[in-house]
Symmetry: C2
Subunit: 207 residues, 2 copies
């Protein structure tokens, strides 16, 4: 677009490889994956958008797949989520998880990449595989030990996650009323006991 | 592909406008929307796939939007769903809804169009609006009267639907284990009481 110098020169003072560069690349990747999906986004376009060389992107993040995983971790911040939730007593875990969900999905800056992730997973097997890894290695491995001890607690953790994904879809993507306009308080009041049920329930629960 | 005669001539013996033609067009539309999404699919391509004239498609289904809505109704069969569920006592509604869900999502022929619908809604505002209409006019209008009477029962109905959408995403799209391989019985045993909680809960429920 601009004359003469390449994009790498346009942002002076940014040291390649410094924290600014890393977050700049992640930010650019977030936009490119969000706009073009996993298939459409290229490391070259991401690098150009961040104003750095593609080789630098590869150097710091590896392959496009690995960059995608890194982008997913930014909005979700698994360590932060686990920290939020870990402070809770088991008896209030449902409510804590519901509130943490709204801190993530209620923030448009974090919601964007989450949508990109879900959208890519629906159209691309590779992206689905990466999301699958993320759910099982990160969320399951860290959250399920907090649930009541039973052989099915990984299944129950995923059912909690699925309730939250479904709310995200219906409230923010489909925007179905009254869910789209309901207050966070109102939704938390309905959903927290449901999530808590997954925390407490055992496999022998009669139906 | 073939010589001479156009696609409309290739399927002899099919009377234009008969039940065969309608279901042939719906079938073709399901494939086109599924493969190309709402934006990519065209009435012309759908007509060609069904072996009929585009004008006939417009005559029977109206616009591309209206055709999309018709396609959505096939896998979901709202009347059938409501029939399944309406027989249930309120006290077993959660379980009945969970079982009906698996009859729909467990069937690959019905699941395909559902994915197409969700995928399109995530990338196209028009498709999202149509899905929104479908959720509110069809599902909400018919299911929410079955829930316990409280001012928030439409919200609770959508939370039930969101739980099922989330399971669909995580089990069939992301294919996260152990949810992807769990038996329907096992999932129904965990989810039915949760759905039942939405059926019974009132707004004043403490959290």
């Amino acid at each position: 677009m601009s004359s003469g110098s390449g994009p790498a020169r346009e942002r002076r003072g940014r040291r390649p490889g410094g924290p600014d560069t890393r977050s700049g690349v992640l930010d650019a990747a977030r936009h490119e994956f969000g706009e073009r999906g996993y298939d459409g986004a290229t490391v070259r376009a991401i690098a150009a958008r961040a104003g750095v060389d593609a080789a630098l992107v590869h150097h710091y993040f590896g392959t496009k797949e690995q960059l995608f995983v890194a982008v997913m971790e930014v909005p979700l911040e698994p360590s932060w989520i686990v920290e939020q939730v870990a402070e809770a007593d088991r008896g209030e875990l449902g409510q804590r998880v519901a509130r943490t969900f709204f801190q993530v999905w209620g923030d448009p800056l974090r919601r964007g990449p989450l949508f990109a992730m879900l959208r890519s997973a629906m159209t691309n097997e590779k992206a689905a595989a990466l999301l699958r890894q993320f759910v099982t290695r990160t969320l399951l491995a860290r959250l399920s030990p907090m649930l009541s001890d039973a052989p099915d607690r990984e299944l129950r953790t995923e059912l909690m996650v699925s309730q939250l994904i479904g709310i995200g879809m219906l409230r923010y993507v489909v925007q179905a009323e009254p869910l789209a306009s309901a207050s966070e308080e109102e939704i938390v009041a309905m959903v927290a006991p449901v999530l808590q049920r997954y925390v407490d329930a055992t496999a022998s629960d009669p139906t």
